[in-house]
């Protein structure tokens, strides 16, 4: 085999960042997608670093706001979030309290519509037609389009400045594999943001993840966040 390119161990993704370095790439006021479903599959170390650096006025796009002490809920409780575009806030009384107090805006989006809107941004679609939300408050301000005698709502793409992604494994090219129900919104968010930062549980050598098992191609990932601890393996 004659490789056409430079040695594959040349990292495609630059050196892994610390959580603090990652948080520094998320400016105040940014639109930030954060993976997770009820706290499962949250990039928790980056979330903590955002709180530590005192991030402000973030617009968070996520499935839910978990619980006050869990995942994205911690970001809400720390006052980092000005606006949340989510499908569910029912498990986080802190989000509800701040919404009523007017310190956080909440835009509720049906979960499937949220997924399709993020996907539309990532896949270059100008919008999708869905029956979900017809005749409900979700329809407010939206165009109704008839196709073959059936009405649909036109739902528009949802983009972000940054996506914060949790994964089980990454290789040094940024290829990602997720675990079970921790996958959720992570893969689609990796397609819809200008800057993508992934926080895997482990970073493995390039070439050890089977091509068919990789869920997110590394070309979509700009940065990895370094593992917390280095295992002492006695290597020089």
């Amino acid at each position: 085999m004659t490789p056409q390119t430079a040695p594959p161990d040349a990292p495609a993704v630059p050196h892994p960042l610390t959580p603090a370095e990652a948080a520094a790439l998320v400016p105040d006021g940014a639109r930030v997608m954060i993976g997770a479903f009820m706290g499962v599959g949250t990039p928790g170390r980056i979330v903590d670093a955002l709180i530590e650096r005192g991030a402000r006025d973030l617009t968070v796009i996520a499935n839910d706001t978990a619980r006050p002490e869990v995942g994205i809920g911690r970001l809400i409780a720390a006052g980092c979030v000005r606006r949340a575009i989510v499908a569910h806030i029912g498990t986080n009384p802190e989000t509800q309290r701040r919404m009523i107090a007017g310190t956080i805006d909440v835009e509720l989006v049906p979960q499937g519509t949220l997924a399709e809107r993020i996907r539309a941004a990532g896949a270059g679609l100008g919008g999708v037609l869905t029956p979900t939300g017809l005749g409900t408050v979700v329809e407010e301000g939206k165009r109704r389009i008839e196709v073959e005698g059936q009405d649909y709502l036109l739902e528009l793409p949802l983009r972000a400045d940054v996506a914060l992604i949790a994964a089980r494994s990454a290789d040094h090219m940024g290829n990602l594999v997720y675990s079970l129900t921790a996958r959720n919104f992570n893969p689609v968010m990796a397609m819809a943001a200008a800057l993508v930062i992934a926080e895997p549980n482990e970073i493995v050598p390039v070439g050890v993840l089977p091509p068919d098992a990789i869920h997110t191609p590394g070309v979509l990932v700009d940065h990895l966040v370094r593992r917390g601890e280095r295992i002492d393996h006695g290597h020089a």
Binding site: F37, M38, G39, V40, G41, N63, D64, A66, V86, A87, H88, I89, G90, T91, Q96, M99, V106, L108, P110, Q111, G112, T113, L114, A115, E116, R119, T130, P131, T132, G133, L134, G135, T136, V137, V138, R168, Y178, S179, L180, T181, A182, R183, N184, F185, N186, P187, V188, H215
Partner: protein
């Protein structure tokens, strides 16, 4: 048999072998306990799995394997995990044979409200709008009244979850099915008078000529 069990047992009779089923949080979850023997049901959880099972023994839970409520579950042989895009493509694309959901109100046309009490409880719709719009069959499993107030109403006072009529409503008093003419009472619980069901219902009820005792 308590009220919730009665409702769950009745809903379980609607399960079909080898079907794909999504159960909402709360009462609907109980339906899983009454799957008829020898029947295989593929339970989907909208956070991204088909084939989850009971909570594993202590110490064998995994933070990456939960149901949509965040509770630990197990993976049965043949389980498959996927992302939220696929999960809702299954729900919205008509691949879910049956969803069972709780309800706050259902109107005379079978339209459901179950996601918000404005000014009081704003949990968000989560996947409810997608499920009611996209699943092949939608069964509402709920108490007939809330503190004496009928939940089956002439006109919704709460924001609807979808335009589409549900397939069936199961309460502790009986079974109702929406039809073009209105809600049809098809089954009544043993020991309950039809008049009592009518009295506990704000929407007009059509009594089915084939009215039966509620199966279980």
């Amino acid at each position: 048999m308590d009220t919730r069990e009665r409702i769950a047992r009745r809903v379980a009779l609607e399960l079909r072998d080898n079907s794909l089923v999504n159960l909402g949080i709360g009462l609907p979850t109980l339906v899983a306990r009454y799957v008829p023997a020898g029947m295989r049901i593929n339970f989907q959880s909208e956070n991204g799995i088909i084939g989850f099972g009971a909570r594993p023994p202590e110490g064998m839970e995994d933070v990456h394997l939960t149901d949509a409520g965040g509770a630990f579950v197990s993976a049965q042989p043949g389980a498959v995990s996927f992302d939220s895009v696929m999960s809702f493509a299954l729900i919205r694309g008509g691949h879910i044979d049956l969803t069972v959901l709780g309800g706050l109100q259902v109107d005379r046309h079978g339209r459901l409200a179950n996601w918000i009490i404005p000014g009081k409880l704003v949990p968000g719709m989560g996947g409810a709008m997608d499920l009611v719009t996209g699943a092949r069959r939608v069964i509402v499993a709920m108490n007939h009244t809330q503190k004496g107030t009928p939940k089956i109403v002439e006109t919704l006072t709460l924001p609807p979850t979808a335009d589409r009529a549900v397939t069936m409503i199961v309460t502790e008093l009986g079974v109702m099915e929406p039809s073009p003419e209105g809600l049809v009472l098809t089954e009544v619980t043993e020991g309950v008078e039809v008049e009592a069901v009518v009295a506990a219902t704000d929407a007009p009820l059509i009594i089915s000529p084939d009215l039966r005792l509620m199966a279980s």
